[in-house]
Symmetry: C2
Subunit: 249 residues, 2 copies
């Protein structure tokens, strides 16, 4: 809010009420949606009309991932070299591809190590540099796969990247182990389901809960199968979102 | 056996009966002990008197790890540059340190991907080179810790190395996921137990079963705690062994 006050030349204090439609602090990037919402709400309340790029930059100060929640649909966060050119832009609109994110909650416990602390430890892992060096390649392949609606390629890249991130965390000093028994159980299930012909891939944020990505047509089947699995406490389904928007003028 | 026949100038055929005192094919390096035993038994049966170095080189042709099972106690496998200088030698005798390996069996299933196939896939992982580059450092630290009986250092290096190996396998193309829910459950348990003051560290071979390394004095407590854990099918305790030896002349 101090940044918004500075931008608008205001000194007013504000009351912020935030609601989230999904669990907070369990590694589902809840801070991303929260900070994206706050950036838009605060800037509008302060009378500012920021561009999407300016909003994305502002949101990034709250939480890195938050910059991606400003534009809708499928977005890319360009790393940039300074605060001024690190923001997210849309690669494809939400209607480009009817993908579903079926999230299996295996733990509701608030994570002991936050994402920011986790990020700061990453360079202590002997695998960190190799991961960083390989990201551009995976990003390019993922973008192409996304534009071509090629789930097999996107899925495999996504799985590799998620495991790579967790590998860096698990080899940091001190190590961070976010995966739980339920996380591993579902990694194996996803592989078995694919072998059986159900096209579904997994990814993780910095937490134990697993995102199963599939086409909208397979969502019901994925949900049905998740219901019988030990350790799955709850299932949340999401799709490409519309981006940050004002819902009450 | 062909190698032994060639070394001894024999053409005789042999009947080989092999017994193992622990589960086979579940990622506990059973092939290592088997090939070490076979190397010694076959060479003696053929009338050869091989040096420990020669035996270690011979065993390595059966299974890489087998070369380490020839000398007793704590051994190091020197990579070498050819078959002639890739063998294991003793760093410290068995009585140097009363360590215990408390193995928690979480799966008796024969692994789907063998170690040799796993090794051959490693270079397809984007993390492989970083792992290889970091091994010399960890080996040097582990040797010093071993000679100084410094379990805290040895344990942390060992855990990092085990996770690093599994990270390479999980990011190979195709990926290999050996960890099971029980593996992860025990990783978390070991960390909790350490936080409570029980000095125990984990490591893995290329499989889901977890080795808990502790001082002999803590063995009973580690075993007791393992008994109550979901997914632990069996507990096997081992210590530094005496190396390959002829038990029946």
């Amino acid at each position: 809010l101090d940044r918004v006050r500075a931008m608008a030349g205001l000194r007013a204090r504000a009351k912020v009420i935030s609601e989230n439609s999904f669990p907070v602090g369990v590694g589902l990037a809840s801070s991303a949606s929260g900070f994206a919402a706050l950036s838009l709400a605060a800037s509008r309340a302060a009378g500012l009309k920021l561009s999407q790029r300016e909003l994305s930059i502002l949101a990034r100060f709250g939480s890195g991932s938050a910059c991606r929640s400003i534009p809708g649909g499928f977005t890319e966060w360009t790393a940039g070299t300074s605060s001024e050119d690190s923001f997210a832009k849309q690669i494809a609109p939400p209607e480009h591809w009817e993908l579903r994110d079926v999230i299996a909650i295996v733990s509701r416990a608030h994570k002991r190590v936050g994402s920011t602390e986790g990020h700061s430890l990453a360079p202590t892992s002997h695998l960190h540099q190799a991961r960083v060096a390989s990201v551009a390649d995976r990003l390019a392949q993922a973008k192409t796969a996304l534009l071509e609606r090629d789930l097999a390629t996107l899925g495999r890249i996504m799985e590799e990247d998620a495991v790579s991130m967790h590998a860096v965390m698990m080899t940091s000093r001190p190590p961070i182990y976010y995966w739980l028994p339920g996380s591993i159980r579902l990694i194996h299930k996803v592989q078995n389901w694919r072998a059986e012909g159900l096209e579904v891939y997994f990814t993780f944020d910095a937490g134990p809960n697993i995102h199963l990505i599939c086409q909208a047509a397979d969502q019901a089947e994925v949900e049905r199968r998740l219901k019988d699995i030990e350790g799955v406490l709850e299932v949340i389904v999401s799709g490409p979102g519309p981006g940050a928007r004002v819902i009450e003028p």
